[in-house]
């Protein structure tokens, strides 16, 4: 109860020394824990299970970064953020990296002073309607009531889409995904719109997923990726190349199963060697251990493994790779070379 005073005293007394804003990497190392901002719960991307352990695709990215920096994929503190709080949490230093299906947009990058380090999921905004409504296209939605999860780019895209097609709609802004589902299931809105991946995740959690269809229109580009603060380029590099390591690992055939073996000694493929630190000084350039990428990959597997485990076709979410396949398979994933 006297904690405030005590904290105040401590702040005045000794800990004021930490005011010098140190580099994020040093902070994280000193703390021994990575603070990673995630959603408050979106199955497949980031959600706590019954035991409070976070799982999901975005969580996998956090764990990979933690493994690369600290060598321990469990040294992550997951900070749940809402659409409203995520940017301030990052800006104020409460979190080191935000991996919360956040769309990379011009104004967020430039005006809000954040640095998107890459794209871990190519998404687009879609619509879900009950099958018995008999709607085949989003253009048939004239006069429909649309549930939107507020605090995202979806509201703006939606307004643009309906305006450019000169059709009317009634928006119902909802705070959380769970409440949006509740309204949609009860028929309080005809359509639920959010990122297509989120729709798939939501539909997967329904009692009868087959009663609902995703409309073919994807009305926006939603490149989702982790982001960090402007101004600390070293930290940005670490997160960027941790993500790239996951993508490159899939391209190079490095998996969580064989990463130990491949990383034990130099192999025939020089790029694999550089990635896994058996050749060259890439880790040292980042200020990390030589086996940073090996730890990142061992944490949860490469990009493809993370995808399959959390949101892939064999999970309830059942997303196809689509745009998120490697460039060699006709997708957009293209990691710059490790050289």
């Amino acid at each position: 109860m006297k904690k405030t005073a005590f904290y105040g005293a401590l702040a005045v007394a000794g800990l004021a020394a930490s005011t010098a804003s140190a580099a994020t990497l040093d902070d994280v190392k000193a703390r021994g824990v990575l603070n990673c901002g995630v959603t408050t719960g979106l199955v497949g991307f980031a959600s706590p299970d019954a035991n409070g352990v976070w799982n999901g695709f975005d969580v996998g990215v956090c764990r990979a970064v933690a493994a690369a920096v600290l060598g321990d994929s469990d040294a992550v503190e997951f900070v749940p953020t809402t659409g409203k709080t995520r940017f301030t949490a990052l800006a104020s230093g409460e979190i080191d990296v935000l991996a919360r299906n956040t769309t990379w947009t011009f104004s967020r990058d430039v005006d809000l002073k954040f640095e998107f380090v890459g794209i871990n999921y190519y998404d687009g905004q879609g619509f879900m309607v009950p099958r018995d409504l008999g709607v085949a296209s989003a253009k048939d939605l004239d006069g429909a009531t649309v549930c939107i999860q507020t605090g995202t780019t979806t509201e703006l895209n939606l307004a643009d889409f309906f305006r450019s097609n000169s059709i009317s709609y009634e928006p119902v802004p909802i705070e959380t995904n769970a409440e949006a589902q509740q309204q949609y299931i009860a028929g309080a809105c005809d359509v639920y719109t959010t990122d297509a991946s989120g729709l798939a995740a939501t539909r997967a959690s329904f009692e009868n997923p087959g009663d609902h269809v995703l409309l073919p229109e994807i009305i926006s580009k939603e490149p989702l990726g982790p982001l960090v603060r402007h101004g600390d380029n070293d930290w940005g590099d670490i997160v960027r190349w941790s993500l790239n390591a996951l993508i490159a690992a899939e391209e190079l055939g490095v998996t969580s199963a064989n990463v130990e073996e491949l990383g034990a000694a130099p192999t025939g493929n020089p790029e694999v060697n550089r990635l896994l630190g058996t050749e060259g000084e890439l880790g040292a350039m980042l200020g990390l251990e030589a086996d940073w990428a090996k730890s990142a990959i061992a944490a949860g597997g490469n990009y493809g493994e993370l995808f399959e485990k959390n949101i892939g076709e064999n999970t309830p979410i059942g997303l196809a790779r689509g745009l998120n396949a490697q460039w060699t398979d006709g997708g957009l994933l293209y990691s710059p070379p490790f050289r």
């Binding site: 301030t88 002073k113 429909a144 703006l156 307004a159 009634e170 119902v172 509740q182 309080a188």
Partner: protein, 408 residues
């Protein structure tokens, strides 16, 4: 302090700033002021240092930029191309609307429950006690969520009105209660001048009728005072109230636009949105429980002698309540009633939970999210609530003084 302890004026010494009660208060105030100014300065300095470190600034120009999002419930013209400022105004009007509606219904609920709690009827008394205790002891947030869930889960969706054998039907064929809102018929004039003018016309007629009826009643009172017999005014009053209206309706041709199922939703008629109903009802019934307690306390504060005196004069119990007890109880009831009105206004910010576009949802929600201007938005938001609160308090203080017991 008496003049005996007063030292001579001229001999002021610095030590008196601490030891002399006359000067000590200046010292205290000066210290308090300096400490406060320093701490505020320190905080503001921190703010700007932190903002500068992140390359941010305080800038209100986003208010003039297009908002880019749509709002379902709007009392003024608004499209997604309107500015953020207009979006904020839409939200402000929505806040005021739901606060006003909830104040009216909460008062009705509260007075009813408060009077019934003192009823002779044991069952009703207990029922009202349960109502009051249940609503007072559970957070309003949970009530908002529960009532919203009841609303969308119990009422049928428009979909269920469709088909040859629908599972839901319209109430009396003219109104629809759906989980998206309530649709009721919209009256309009076939040969009128358009919505706004027609409405003003009806209003003018009603105001005319009001003054007409007042004149008739005043005349009746005069006659009663002169002769002791009050002439029958019921029929004249009814005529004055309804005659002009009916003539007007016939001349202009009153019609009703009945809502009907069109496409995804009901179209036509007046729509009262589901989120509005949910937050309105939740706030009314929650605050009603508090008002009921105030009303009960107010009634009990009126001494029993008043009731007995009125009874001795032969006044009927119902009229004792309305003519003797309630007017006196009002003095006790009004001040807490006002603070309940303030609470309603402030609690209306929970509208974001049900998707009602109040000012917290537009300015403090979507605009904040889309522009990222958190500090500016929250400051404006607090400024708005502060203004409303101070305005209501001021108005009420004036009223309070007016009805205050005139004592000699």
């Amino acid at each position: 302090m008496t003049s005996i302890t007063d030292p001579p004026r001229g001999s002021f010494r610095p030590s008196m700033l601490i030891n002399d009660t006359r000067y000590r208060s200046y010292t205290f105030q000066a210290i308090a002021f300096v400490v406060l100014a320093l701490s505020i300065g320190y905080l503001i300095n921190n703010l700007f240092t932190n903002l500068a470190a992140q390359g941010l600034d305080i800038d209100f120009s986003f208010l003039g930029a297009p908002a880019g999002y749509d709002i379902n419930q709007r009392l003024i013209e608004y499209t997604s191309q309107s500015t953020n400022l207009q979006a904020a105004f839409v939200g402000i009007l929505n806040t005021l609307l739901v606060a006003f509606l909830a104040c009216v219904t909460a008062t009705i609920f509260g007075v009813l429950a408060g009077v019934l709690r003192l009823s002779n009827n044991w069952l009703v008394r207990k029922l009202m006690a349960i109502y009051v205790e249940i609503f007072r002891n559970i957070p309003v947030l949970i009530w908002v969520l529960i009532i919203f869930t009841i609303m969308i889960a119990v009422l049928p969706g428009p979909r269920e009105f469709r088909g040859d054998d629908p599972s839901a039907t319209m109430f009396l064929g003219i109104s629809a209660f759906t989980n998206r809102g309530v649709y009721i018929p919209l009256p309009f004039f076939e040969r009128g001048f358009g919505g706004g003018l027609d409405f003003l016309m009806v209003l003018a007629v009603l105001v005319g009728s009001f003054f007409g009826a007042r004149a008739v009643n005043a005349r009746a009172t005069r006659i009663q005072e002169a002769t002791g017999v009050r002439p029958a005014t019921l029929l004249t009053n009814l005529g004055i109230w309804f005659g002009p209206l009916i003539v007007m309706f016939l001349v202009f041709g009153l019609r009703f636009e009945v809502p009907e199922l069109k496409g995804f939703n009901f179209a036509g008629g007046i729509k009262v949105g589901g989120p509005l109903i949910a937050i309105w009802f939740a706030l009314s019934i929650y605050t009603g429980a508090f008002i009921a307690e105030n009303v009960r306390a107010g009634i009990q504060a009126v001494s029993k002698g008043q009731t007995e005196a009125a009874g001795a004069l032969g006044i009927r119990p119902g009229r004792i309540m309305s003519l003797v007890v309630l007017p006196q109880a009002l003095r006790v009831i009004i001040p807490p009633l006002i603070s309940n009105y303030l609470n309603i206004t402030k609690n209306s910010s929970l509208a974001i939970l049900v998707g009602y576009a109040d000012v917290t949802a537009t300015l403090g929600g979507i605009t904040l999210n889309q522009t990222g201007r958190a500090i500016e938005c929250i400051l404006l938001l607090m400024l708005f609530y502060l203004t409303i609160s101070l305005l209501i308090s001021a108005v009420i203080n004036v009223y309070n003084n007016a009805i205050k017991l005139k004592e000699r």
